[in-house]
C-alpha cells in the first residue's frame, strides 16, 4: 500500500548520517577496513576481549575443538590432581577433568546468558516501545510499573521469580532476564521519544503510512541502537547474575558442568584443592571483563571516532 511510497520518501529526507544507504562499494569499504584496523591496533585490550568472547562462543558450540575428554567421566585414581600438563585445570573429587568441565559448561552458561538478555531485551524493549509510542496515560501506567521494578533489588526480584517458576538453567535465565526488564524499557522509551519527533517520522505519517508501519519501519530501526548497546552491557551482568543463582543452588542439577555450580562445588574442597573454585571463577571473570570491555567500546569509543 503506502509502503513503497514511504520507502522512497525516507532516503530523500536523509535521516541517518551514520548509515549511508548507497555507499560506493570499493572505496568506502577499503577505507573503513583500514580505519577499523587502526582503531583496534590502538586497543590491545579490546582485541583480547574479542578473542576471549570468540573462544567462549566456540567452546559453547564446538567443545570438542578444545578438549577430547568427557566432562562427566570420572577416573577415581586421578582425583584431586593439581593443574598440570595432564589436566590443565586439575581434576575434581571424582577425578573428572576440570578443564573439560569448564569448556563444556560454556554452552550452558552462554545459553542462560543469551536467554536472560533476550528476555530482558524483548520484554523491556516492547514495554518501552509501546510506552513511548502510545504516550499519555498508557505511557504513565507502563513507566510507573517499570519504576517499581527498579525499586526492588534485581537479585530479590529474580529470587522471587525462581521461587514461582522453579529451578533449572532456563528458569534461572528467564528470572534474571525479567528482573532486568526495567532498564531496557527506560532506554527504549527515551529513544522512541527522541525518534518520534524526527522529521522523517512526521513525513511518513503525512504520506499516510499506517501506525504499525511507522512504528516498525521508521521508529524501531532508528531507536534500537542504544538498546542494543545496553544489551551488550547487560551480557556481563547476566553472566554474573546467572552464576550467582546457580552458585546458590538454583541452576542446573549437579552433574551438569555449569560455571556457577562448578565454583560452588569447589567450595567444599577449598582447603585441599584450590583450583576447583579458583579456575572456573577466573573463567567467569575473564568473560565478564571481556564483554564489558566490548560493550564500552560499542557505547562510546567507536561512536566518538566517527
Amino acid at each position: 500500500m503506502s509502503q513503497s511510497l514511504v520507502g522512497e520518501v525516507e532516503p530523500a529526507t536523509g535521516p541517518d548520517p551514520d548509515r549511508p544507504r548507497h555507499p560506493e562499494p570499493g572505496v568506502i569499504r577499503g577505507a573503513e577496513a583500514r580505519r577499523l584496523v587502526r582503531f583496534l591496533l590502538r586497543r590491545p585490550g579490546l582485541v583480547l576481549s574479542i578473542l576471549v568472547v570468540a573462544l567462549v562462543v566456540l567452546a559453547a558450540f564446538w567443545p570438542t575443538l578444545f578438549t577430547s575428554r568427557d566432562p562427566l567421566l570420572g577416573v577415581p585414581v586421578d582425583r584431586f590432581q593439581g593443574p598440570g600438563a595432564q589436566h590443565w585445570f586439575g581434576t575434581d573429587e571424582l577425578g573428572r577433568d576440570l578443564y573439560a568441565r569448564v569448556v563444556h559448561g560454556a554452552a550452558l552458561s552462554l545459553k542462560a546468558t543469551l536467554i536472560a538478555v533476550g528476555v530482558a531485551f524483548v520484554v523491556g524493549g516492547t514495554i518501552g516501545l509501546v510506552a513511548g509510542f502510545v504516550g499519555r496515560w498508557g505511557e504513565d501506567v507502563l513507566m510507573r510499573i517499570v519504576d517499581v521494578l527498579l525499586a526492588i533489588p534485581a537479585l530479590f526480584l529474580s529470587l522471587a521469580l525462581v521461587t514461582a517458576l522453579g529451578f533449572g538453567t532456563v528458569k534461572v535465565a528467564v528470572a534474571v532476564g525479567l528482573a532486568s526488564v526495567a532498564s531496557f524499557a527506560r532506554v527504549m522509551r527515551a529513544e522512541v521519544l527522541r525518534v518520534r519527533q524526527a522529521v522523517y517520522v512526521e513525513a511518513a505519517r503525512s504520506t499516510g503510512a499506517r501506525w504499525y508501519s511507522v512504528l516498525l519501519r521508521h521508529v524501531l530501526p532508528n531507536a534500537i541502537g542504544p538498546v542494543l548497546v545496553l544489551a551488550t552491557l547487560e551480557l556481563g551482568i547476566a553472566v554474573l547474575a546467572v552464576s550467582s543463582l546457580s552458585f546458590l543452588g538454583y541452576g542446573a542439577p549437579p552433574p551438569a558442568p555449569e560455571w556457577g555450580t562448578l565454583i560452588s562445588t569447589g567450595r567444599n574442597y577449598l582447603a585441599n584443592a584450590w583450583w576447583l573454585s579458583t579456575l572456573p571463577g577466573l573463567t567467569v571473570a575473564a568473560t565478564v571483563l571481556a564483554t564489558n570491555r566490548i560493550a564500552r567500546a560499542l557505547d562510546g569509543e567507536s561512536a566518538t571516532q566517527r
Binding site: R144, I145, D147, V148, L149, A151, I152, P153, A154, L155, F156, L157, L159, A160, L161, V162, T163, A164, L165, G166, G236, L240, S243, S244, F247, L248, G249, Y250, G260, I263, S264, G266, R267, L270, A271, W274, S277, T278, G281, V284, A285, V288, L289, N292
Partner: protein, 319 residues
Amino acid sequence: MRRYLAGRLGQAVAVLWAAYTVSFLVLDLLPGDPVSAMAAGGLDQAAIEPAQIEALRREYGFDQPILVQYLNYLGRAVRGDFGNSVATGRPVTSTLADALPYTLQLTAAALVLAVVLGGAVALYATYTAHRWLRQLLMSLPSLGVSLPTFWIGLMLVQLLSFRLRLLPAFGNEGAASLILPAVTLAVPTGAMLAQLLAKSLLTTLDEPYVQTARAKGAGRTRVHLRHALRNAALPAFTMAGILVGNLMAGSVVVETVFSRNGVGRETVSAVTVQDIPVVQGVIVFGASTFVLANLAVDLIYPLLDPRIVVAAAQQRSTG
C-alpha cells in the same frame, strides 16, 4: 519544605505498596501456590491427602477470589503481618526481624568500607600525576564490578583462612568473622561508587570555578578535596538507594558463602523450599531498604544543595 517532605513520603509509601503488589502478582498468580508446593514435597516428601490440601487451601484463603485474597493479604501486610512461614510455621515478620541485626552489621561494615575504599581510589586516581598509576587505579573499579562476589569471598577464605590462618572462614562469632564478609561485600559496591565518583570528579575538575580556585592560588590538594569533591560527591550520593539495594542483594550471596546468619540466608532457604510468605516478606523488605535509603537522601540533600527544594517548588507551581 513541608510540602517537599510530604511529597517524598507519599512517593515512598506508593513504591512500597506497588512492590508488595508486584510480589503478590509474581508469587501468588503464577502457577503453583504454597499449598501445592507443600503437597509436592517441599518439606518432608510425605504425600499430603487431598482433603488436607483442601483444608490448607481454606486456611490460607486460596479458595477465595484472587482480588479478595489480595485485599486480605494487603490489609494484613499493612499491619506488619506477612503470615507464617510455610516451612517453620513462625511468623515471617519475626523470622526476618531475628535475622536482621546480623545483616545490618554486615551491610553497615561493608558500606563504610565501600565508601572509604571506593572514595580513596576515585580521589587518588583523579589526583595523581603519574599516568600509569592513574590508569591502574582507573581500571580497578571495572575489575571490581566484573568479579563474581561469591568467588571473591571464596578466594579470600582460601588465602586468609586456610593458607595464612589469619581470620575465621565461617560463622558469625566475634568481630574477626565480620572482616572477610564485609570486605567481600564491599568490593562490588565500592567499585561502583568509585566509577561514579571518578567520573563526576573528572567533569567537576573541568568546571570554571575550579579554575578560578586554582587561579586564586589554592593548592592542588585543597582544590581537589575542598572545591571539587564537595560538588562531585553529590551525584554519587544520590545513588545511595541503588547502592544500599546492591548491598542487600549482595548479602544474600555473601551470607551463603560465609555461612553467616542473616536475612540473606533466610532468603536462600525460603527460595529452596518455595516458602512463599517469607520470600514475599523479603521482597518488601528489599524494596523498603531502597525506599528508606532514597528517603534519607531526599531529606539530607536539601541541606547539601538548597537548590533542590526551590526547584521542586517551582516544578509544582508550573506543572
